[in-house]
Subunit: 478 residues, 2 copies
């Protein structure tokens, strides 16, 4: 059977993904090493995700702010683990002027900075410095901040949405009076992320704590959300960190308690990125292109007038009246009245993953009917309805699509998690090409033999099992 995307997922998952991004017109590689340009259709999806996530962040009493892009190296250097974790991928600004020298535009040597800056890979340090001034007494706590910004981590093996040198994200940074409060916040926001991904992106997350080996550089505890892709690989979709007093001590974030004593505070940070989009594309899409969860689809319904020339204007106008009715129920609709051929339009919107495609032809118009097809299950869902019945039911159908997409992803997750008794069993499963997450006693992985397997099979510890943290999930990962 011919598919809109070649190769198919089964033939070459990684190439399928790259071609999916192009076919759905989501993004392209930029002429800047490791960076991408997010095209309008991709960015519209991100805006819907961002706005909903922002509402949930603010509902937790967090305030947005905006900190500088550049970080003085001395700040970055204050927390030893942190600098070790990020120094190898830091973009460095060393000059502040260009000059034509020998016919070539280059950094003006006279503009060399005595202290260079790095472009933020994350903002714990620059925000930590501000917090040390903003927090004086227990009355200033908790202090909960967030920003939606771009960050940069120089990337040697870039892949669109999954790993790019520059990416967009939100980063929450918070200060608390006690460790209990800080840890509770890190866990609460971890859960908030999980709810968001399930309720909005239709993605079930494996949620648990990172092992010490895989923690964020400078954290006491890192809570992660791991998604399982259709090829069985893991994708880390978000993290929430209990930073203990590491950054509070490095930056002198102290508060005067009710007891009159000066105490170092406890901090947390948590973030999600455009990477979530990559996960969503890989979890739900198929060999014909993107399949978008309805709540983040820029167009939830596309109406395609099936026109012969003599009826085009009338049909387009009719389609627009249906669109208006749908819009009044809060559905996002596009009428595709472009001059492409109808089959080309159909395939365009299939590839772009619009949840519901509606066809109206001359006969449908005369009978006040429409034909609707769900993107997620395709032809088998195709049916003809009265316009009123469809308009009344559209929001329910969209909700049903969301639920079905989530349910399919949950079943796949279940089928892809395998218990293994020991390293030998893990080794033979991987050697046999078994895909997915392998659940094994964490203790078993603390040895040279496991390190060798990590190297051999490119597997990593994803997280401890929240239900029994003596077990760890191991998988190949994006």
């Amino acid at each position: 059977m011919k598919t809109a995307i070649t190769p198919t997922r089964a033939e070459n998952f990684s190439e399928w993904y790259q071609n999916l991004i192009v076919a759905a017109d989501l993004a392209e590689n930029a002429p800047v090493r490791g960076c991408m340009t997010i095209k309008p259709y991709g960015w519209a999806i991100w805006e819907l995700m961002r706005d909903e996530m922002d509402r949930r962040i603010k509902a937790n009493g967090v305030q947005n702010a905006n900190f500088p892009l550049l970080i003085p190296i001395e700040f970055f250097n204050k927390e030893a683990e942190h600098v070790a974790g990020f120094a190898k991928e830091a973009a460095v600004v060393t000059h502040y002027r260009l000059k034509m020298i020998d016919g070539k535009l280059q950094p003006d040597p006279e503009s060399k900075l005595t202290e260079p800056y790095i472009i933020r890979p994350t903002s714990e340090t620059i925000i930590g410095e501000a917090m040390s001034r903003w927090v004086q007494s227990y009355r200033d706590l908790p202090l909960k901040l967030n920003q939606w910004v771009n960050v940069m981590r120089w990337e040697m093996r870039p892949r669109m949405f999954l790993r790019t040198s520059e990416f967009n994200w939100q980063e929450g940074h918070n200060v608390f009076a006690t460790h209990d409060e800080a840890n509770a916040d890190a866990r609460k926001m971890h859960k908030m992320y999980g709810d968001f991904m399930r309720d909005i992106l239709a993605i079930p997350s494996i949620m648990g704590e990172k092992t010490p080996e895989e923690r964020f550089a400078g954290a006491d505890h890192t809570y992660t959300l791991e998604h399982i892709m259709q090829d069985g690989k893991a994708l880390q979709a978000g993290t929430s960190h209990d930073l203990g007093q590491h950054f509070a001590k490095s930056f002198g974030i102290q508060y005067l308690g009710t007891d009159g004593k000066l105490t170092h505070a406890w901090t947390t940070s948590w973030g999600t990125t455009t990477r979530m989009m990559g996960s969503m594309f890989m979890v739900h899409s198929d060999d014909d292109g993107l399949v978008l969860p309805p709540f983040v689809a820029p167009y939830q319904v596309v109406i395609i007038p099936i026109t012969r020339d003599e009826t085009a204007d009338e049909l387009n106008a009719y389609a627009e009246t249906i669109a208006e009715k749908l819009r009044s129920t809060g559905v996002r609709v596009l009428v595709d009245s472009s001059d492409m051929r109808s089959p080309d339009k159909m395939w365009k919107w299939i590839k772009r993953g619009v949840p519901l495609r509606v066809e109206v032809g001359a006969r449908e118009m005369s009978e006040n009917m429409i034909t609707v097809t769900r993107r997620d299950i395709g032809k088998e869902s195709k049916k003809t309805l009265s316009v009123d019945a469809f308009v009344n039911d559209a929001k329910n159908i969209l909700r049903q699509i969301h639920d079905d997409m989530l349910s399919r992803a949950e079943h796949r997750n279940e089928s892809m998690i395998h218990n293994v008794a020991d390293l030998a069993e893990l080794d033979s499963a991987l050697a046999a090409g078994k895909i997915g997450f392998f659940r094994i006693k964490y203790e078993q992985t603390k040895c040279d033999a496991f390190d060798a397997m990590m190297e051999k099979y490119k597997i990593t510890r994803r997280c401890l099992d929240d239900n029994d943290p003596t077990f760890v999930f191991v998988a190949k990962a994006y």
Copy 2:
């Protein structure tokens, strides 16, 4: 009379402005040269401005996208005027890794880039390159894009919100098939900005075209919005550029017309920045602090329970019921139930410019009344109303405040625009310390004598008078 901000505007306008920013808790200088940190209260104002502007941009058929932060120098170098305009303030990225050398963390020499990047000062070049690929035929036009991002122009004399090395903005970039369409778009968006500033920020703009001397680097026409500050100085609050075919030719943006011929397209760009906030703060505020236009006030109403200890809980709860009623009418409300003293709360929200302050004490509660004071006109507006009357009228009062603020700014503008017949009259006006905009024949300014006056009085040509473009406005400027 004691004022909340010292010095007053009359005493030292520039120091007043700096202290206003601090007193209203809007922002602070960052520990990065020329950069600022926008604090939560300042950022909340920006979010309201941004969301409303974004709606208006999209209503014009523009789609948001996201282009890279870094620009290859070769791109930047393709348009000669453009590079001349920005090369002197470009932050340059030259390395992609840090290394500990001689006990000091510094750029790793082995990570030196053969071709350095600059941090975008504006994105005409990198977007131009993309457009040259995205535009193929007349069917692809018009192409209208926008992005909300940070940009960087190294700043030697930074001033919060007015001039910072990094700033946030939106930049629209558009391609058209004809010069007429491009020019019409540049003018339409110029008008859109003017409407936004009047209808949302309560600021009347002097709108006109920049003279050739003051145009954007690489534009055929630059349309500007000039605001008049309370000290008579100009502030450029937004620009819209008709770029002709400069960038289309530099980047090869061509389309196949209906006639089958390949033609260079015409492009435009337009932008507004966080600088608009600086204008808004300087246009409306007074010696007691910020005065916010109601439509962008994070809290339009603050309710202050005037408590004695024994009634605090009851009064706070009562204030919350009033707040809920107001919220249900779409008003943004805060109940300040913090444990500060009531007069301190009053001054806090006066300094932060909340449009309406509501006081409720035990007596008001027993009578179901409130006392309300407008921030913009202060004590003279103070009155006691029934809760229901206030709730029903709050949106109207806020609208009235907006209208009054706009009207006051319009009257001030009128009083600050002076016609001068010739350079001699201009010279004596400036020598006498007259402040404001001076309207003079543009021809008169094209001579060495005027250049000398520009130097002497730090004045510049702001824009041509739209009503009669043989005249130009001249002023000192931020």
